[in-house]
């Protein structure tokens, strides 16, 4: 209880302390965000069954959908060396936006669209990395430096103090003390300090008119992003529109009817998006190019203990990293797969391991994922019933 109280009491930490720490972590400066940290080391390797069976072509209500069957988790699995799971050794990260892999049997047309978006993102990503601001030499750490302190001198310059960590061990070899001994001191000008801050905070200044996931920070970057999107014939996510109904127990923002009407208008061309109406919404947000997310409840309990589903529609024709929404699963090896056909004939691949539950489908023009939440887990029948609430034929 004491530890919890300390953690809670720390919420009142002085803003100045938070500011300096947030800056050091690169999370924020002057009220602007920086991208989420990705400094992880790879800890585990994972095995996955490489079972592929022929994709199933469905023609129903004018809708073309491809079931990935036992292609399973590979469609969602994020393979990056700089992310390691925290939930368990067999954990993994999955994308619930763009597909991470495409079955070989996939229609060449859809495969080409996804490949096109992937190539475009790679080009944008490379440009961003190459165009990050460079660091002033005065701040480059000498070899052996364990810590850098930056102190204002009061005359517009800054003392840059590099320190070496000197460890004291006990008899068993455990570290019992650390002393940071100054190894070198330099002076930085205000301009160099600003450049260093600029470097540290690169990516933190959101340029207006673009989804923050693009990390557009300057007019030059905006121009480049537009150029790449045009080159590959892709749309960009721009203004994000959002509606909220349920915010835990304390309020409602939009009415259920209001959100349903908007969902039908935006996501279903005026038809009914849901075959069975949800009991409520947590949120609905959309971009004008066709990306949208609907988080809906299927139980009267609209708290974290209720059952809800997060559905995300990601058009192939949109420039996307595929990392806009990332989930972490507990045991990738234990994930079992089956397919489920909805009443409109759309066949989804369903993944579940008892703790994590997902479904996805490659539609003709977009990839749709569903992430299910129920603390006690859901049976296959319960998952299927939630999937059947949605009319995929209208997307």
């Amino acid at each position: 209880m004491l530890e919890k109280n300390i953690l809670l009491a720390m919420n009142g930490a002085d803003d100045a302390f938070l500011e300096e720490t947030a800056r050091k972590l690169g999370y924020i400066s002057g009220g602007r965000k920086i991208k989420a940290p990705a400094s992880y080391s790879r800890r585990t390797s994972r095995r996955f069954a490489a079972m592929l069976i022929a994709a199933c072509l469905l023609l129903s209500l004018g809708l073309v959908a491809y079931a990935a069957d036992l292609f399973g988790i590979r469609a969602l699995l994020i393979k990056r060396d700089d992310m390691s799971p925290t939930r368990s050794e067999n954990g993994a990260f999955v994308s619930i936006t763009q597909p991470q892999e495409v079955p070989e049997e996939m229609s060449t047309e859809i495969k080409a669209k996804i490949d096109n978006s992937t190539k475009a993102w790679a080009e944008w990503d490379a440009w961003r990395k190459d165009n990050r601001p460079s660091r002033p030499e005065v701040f480059l750490e000498p070899e052996g430096c364990d810590m850098t302190d930056i102190i204002e001198n009061g005359d517009g310059t800054y003392a840059v103090i590099f320190r070496d960590a000197v460890l004291t061990h006990d008899d068993s070899g455990e570290v019992v003390d650390v002393e940071y001994v100054e190894m070198e001191r330099r002076t930085a000008t205000a301009e160099e300090y600003e450049r260093e801050m600029e470097h540290m905070l690169a990516g933190s200044q959101s340029y207006p008119g673009y989804d923050f996931n693009y990390d557009v920070t300057t007019a030059e970057a905006a121009e480049k992003l537009e150029e790449i999107a045009a080159k590959y014939g892709l749309e960009l996510r721009r203004e994000r529109n959002a509606m909220y109904q349920n915010f835990g127990s304390f309020t409602q923002f939009n009415s259920l009817e209001e959100i349903t009407a908007k969902i039908n208008e935006v996501c279903a061309g005026g038809k009914s998006f849901f075959r069975t109406e949800p009991t409520g919404y947590d949120k609905f947000y959309y971009f004008n190019e066709g990306t949208f997310a609907v988080s809906f409840f299927t139980t009267d309990d609209m708290t974290n203990e209720g059952t809800y589903c997060y559905l995300y529609n990601s058009p192939y024709g949109t420039l996307s990293s595929g990392f806009e929404i990332v989930g972490e699963i507990e045991d990738a090896d234990a994930m079992s797969t089956y397919t489920h056909a909805t009443p409109d004939g759309t066949e989804l691949t369903v993944l579940h391991n008892g703790a994590d539950m997902f479904a996805y489908v490659y539609l003709e023009n977009s990839f749709v994922t569903m992430s299910f939440h129920q603390l006690k887990g859901l049976s296959a029948d319960e998952i299927n019933a939630i999937i059947d609430m949605v009319d995929f034929g209208v997307i």
Binding site: L2, K4, N5, I6, L7, L8, A9, M10, N11, G12, A13, D14, D15, F17, L18, E20, T21, A22, L25, G26, Y27, I28, G31, K33, I34, A36, P37, S39, Y40, T86, R87, I96, E141, D146, M147, T148, V175, D177, V178, Y180, S206, F212, A242, Y244, F247, G248, S249, F250, T251, F253, D282, K283, S295, N304, E305, I325, G327, E328, S371, L375
Partner: protein, 186 residues
């Protein structure tokens, strides 16, 4: 949009305040929530709760630094959610979550419940303690226990090995415990 203008929109009950706050601080709050909850969907829920929390708490509050106001709210909500989840995993009854009223009481200068008063005393002591720490030690401590940043990330950002970060954290924790004992808060 400047913080002052966003806060003004909140005060005028203009709904665009939320979208402006989300555009400017969404990723920041999301990072805090993700660090604590390790789940993207939960984190997003938590950040959404933060926006409506801001909506409900302004007025009466008029924060000067919206980033920290929202960040603190996100952290509080994330810790609550984590606490409830852990309790359920242990199979026990979920403890009564800290209420939103407690949060707003706590965020404002008004005295609230007994628990709030207790937390405020501890908060003042912790701030005093933090103020006496060397800057880097304070930052590492807050990076881990306020922002819930992984040790690996702190190690990278501060230029230490992970073992050095861990030993530093252990030392600061011990010092804090001794300090709180001296203050009669532990």
């Amino acid at each position: 949009l400047e913080d002052r203008k966003i806060v003004e929109l909140f005060w005028r009950r203009n709904e665009t305040a939320i979208s402006h706050a989300a555009a400017k601080y969404g990723a920041y709050c999301n990072t805090i929530a993700r660090n604590i909850l390790h789940n993207a969907c939960d984190a997003e829920e938590c950040v959404n709760d933060t926006y409506i929390g801001a909506w409900n708490s302004m007025p009466d509050n008029k924060p000067e630094r919206l980033s920290h106001y929202l960040g603190k709210m996100t952290r509080w909500l994330a810790l609550n959610r984590l606490d409830a989840k852990r309790s359920r995993k242990r199979g026990g009854d979920a403890p009564e979550p800290l209420s939103y009223d407690e949060l707003t009481d706590y965020a404002s200068a008004d005295a609230g419940t007994e628990k709030t008063v207790e937390l405020k005393e501890m908060c003042a002591a912790i701030n005093h303690f933090l103020g006496k720490l060397p800057a880097t030690e304070r930052q590492i401590f807050l990076a881990r226990y306020w922002f819930a940043a992984p040790v690996a990330e702190i190690s990278e950002k501060f230029g230490f090995t992970q073992s050095k970060v861990k030993s530093q954290l252990m030392r600061t924790r011990n010092r804090l415990r001794r300090y709180l004992e001296e203050e009669g808060l532990c």
